[in-house]
């Protein structure tokens, strides 16, 4: 890649870019992960298969709970 030629290519802007890039990435991944987990919980509750936590431990093999 070429080096930056404008004023925004200073070390400070490099640090700001890195913080923005990593920050946005973690926010996107965290938001998507939480959305997937909460959607599973919400639909599971609608279907009446939520809260069967013990099943994971082998007490009931018919369903498992979410986290």
């Amino acid at each position: 890649m070429l080096g930056a030629t404008d004023d925004e290519g200073t070390p400070m802007s490099e640090v700001a870019t890195v913080i923005a890039g990593w920050g946005i990435t973690f926010v996107v991944l965290a938001t998507y992960s939480i959305w997937v987990v909460l959607r599973g919980k919400s639909i599971g509750q609608e279907l009446g298969i939520g809260g069967i936590e013990q099943s994971d431990l082998g007490k009931d093999t018919s369903a498992t709970a979410d986290s």
Binding site: M1, L2, G3, A4, T5, D6, E8, G9, P11, S13, E14, V15, T17, V18, A20, G21, W22, I24, T25, F26, V28, L29, Y32, S33, V36, V37, R39, G40, K41, I43, G44, E46, L47, G48, I49, G50, I52, D56, T61, S62, A63, T64, A65, D66, S67
Partner: protein, 254 residues
Amino acid sequence: MTAAAKSGAKMTATPITRVLGVSALAATAVMAVLGLVVSPPDVVQGEAVRMLYLHVPSIWIAYGGFALTSISSILFLWRSGRRADQGRHYDRLAGAAAEVGVVFTAITLITGMLWGKVTWGTYWQWDARLTTTVLLFVTYLGYLALRRLPAEPTVRSRRAAVMALISFINVPIVHFSVDWWRTLHQKASLSVGRRPEITGEMYWTLLYSALAVTVLATWLIIHRYRVIRLEELRDEEGLEALIASRLNKDVGSH
């Protein structure tokens, strides 16, 4: 107990996926330490090189996700008639992998734009790599939209499978665009059969980052697969309830 519960439906987590989820969280935390603290700045790019550890693994995961979508789609088209579930398993896997692929393509585009601003002086350039990547993103968004169109489930899955196979044609074009055309984008940092462009701590941090996001993507695909299954069960229950209420209405009116 609902029909879904009686059928042995599972919610989205099992002990194994919990362990995988915790591992993904820990792996990404270590990745942040390696990428932001341990790995040294580059001689030419300085601190901006730290974008490498997000940008490159993200597109690898996107390629992997889209490859999984294609393989699942082929299996759906090939085997759906022979399976008791009419290939729903393959269809769900295709949908889950595509969605995760789209998320990681978005991350690739965002981190690439930020990185480009520092190194090229511009967020965007309509060169071959960037253009084909944004086309890949839009195509798979279309694929996900197609999966949501109202239609008979098997017909919808078949249409989606065909579109997945057409969409995948762009993946090798994106990857080799930097070799086939003159572009602003640099060539691949790591390639099979070619000496790596980077070495030492940067090389190992990049490989570790790829491993960490692979664990995270695996966890996401498994969870999304299970959520798709729950969505299908909910739709089926809704349909059954609607039919039952219509039948009751008809009986009552006679």
